[in-house]
Amino acid sequence: MSEFGITASQTVGPFLKIGLAQGDQEYVVAENVKGALRIDGHVYDGQGQPVPDAMIEIWQANIYGKYDHPDDPTDAELVKSFYGFGRSCTDKNGNFFFVTVKPGRVVGLGNTLQAPHLAVNVFARGMLKQQVTRLYFSDEIQANSEDPVLNSIDDAGVRDTLVASKVNDENGMPCYKFNIHLQGEMETAFFDV
């Protein structure tokens, strides 16, 4: 235990939108940006009921695989005004969405290359601490097969919960479906980071 004990987590409670839902935080990029794509999904509880008081946050690298953060030492390019953070509160049907771009590949540990992915935090009433997951893309078959985090999961069914599936384009924008199951048969793979 360190001299300064960490601050414990507590639930966001049912009224999270008062503090956290403002502005168009679902839009990591504008819809008319080249390469813009849409991510759509629902959050479900252990009985398959939608969770209307959840908040999903994403953090990602830009199209060159560079994080806009001083601790990214790689020399990949930054993209002007691309920041990489998004936030979406679920609606009454448990639905969330983001408009963003597919990140480039980011180095992993031990000279590996990670597949394009988003880091995901899931908060909700009834969750005392957020759950951490990742979102990968179904049309990155080769990259996904080389990803060290995906490959550390033996059970293919569990691994597949991390992969957003490409569905029909919407107004010319590529669209991916990513449902989050907090519990149950289709329970999402969550990470201890």
Partner: protein, 234 residues
């Protein structure tokens, strides 16, 4: 490239477990499988920093709405954000939300029949200073009933959201007030196993930072995870 320096792991009993049966809503919203441990890559050690001035003036003052004063006891809530090694966390975003002095949230699903205050929204944001300091002016929130069990009341609290320097330092919590008789009965507060971790969520009354004839003052410091001493070994 050298391997990134990761962040230290939280000890298990300093955070609440996913399933805490006293708080009924956790029963269907807690994963049954154990989380999969992953080593920190660039994805986990980077994160949104928000040091780019998107805030409007006045977002740190919840006690005034359209120039009109909110009802209740005006208070300052201030403190510092530090990491486990005592290093300040500069220019990080803090977001808060809370109910009004009567215990009512400005939210369509809050059915508690306490009065709404036309001059109180209950939402604020600040970015910490170069020394990791922050300060809000607000109204002391009331306790409010909730349906978790018979005669359940939440102790007065302010919801706090904090980013810190990395994806893995993100934390959302609740700040409480000293000597609240409701602590004993609140499953959310008591879901934290470690007694001292629980007490760290209780702010301290601070006479020195009160303002005579204007506001009382409570201190609340935030501690986020610190860096590992050495790069991660495979």
């Amino acid at each position: 490239m050298s391997e990134p320096v990761g962040y230290r792991r939280d000890s298990q009993d300093e955070h609440p477990p996913a399933l805490y049966e006293g708080y009924k809503s956790t029963v269907l919203r807690s994963p049954k499988r154990l989380p999969i441990k992953i080593n920190h890559t660039l994805t986990e050690i980077t994160g949104p920093l928000f040091g780019h001035g998107k805030l409007q003036p006045g977002e740190d003052d919840l006690s005034i709405e359209n120039g009109e004063e909110a009802q209740g006891q005006r208070i300052f809530v201030s403190g510092r954000v530090l990491d486990e090694d005592g290093r300040p966390v500069p220019r990080t975003l803090i977001e808060i939300w809370q109910c009004n002095a009567a215990g009512r949230y400005r939210h369509p699903i809050d059915q508690h029949p306490a009065p709404l205050d036309p001059n109180f929204v209950g939402q604020g944001r600040v970015v910490t200073s170069d020394e990791g300091e922050y300060k809000f002016t607000t109204i002391k929130p009331g306790a409010y009933p909730w349906g978790n069990h018979y005669n359940a009341w939440r102790p007065a609290h302010i919801h706090f959201s904090l980013f810190g320097p990395a994806f893995v330092t993100r934390v959302i919590t609740q700040m409480y007030f000293p000597d609240d008789p409701l602590f004993l009965f609140d499953p959310i507060f008591n879901s934290i196993p470690d007694e001292s971790a629980r007490q760290r969520l209780v702010s301290k009354f601070d006479l020195d930072s009160t303002k005579p004839d204007f506001a009382l003052s409570f201190k609340f410091n935030f501690i986020v995870r610190g860096r590992d001493a050495t790069p991660f070994e495979e």
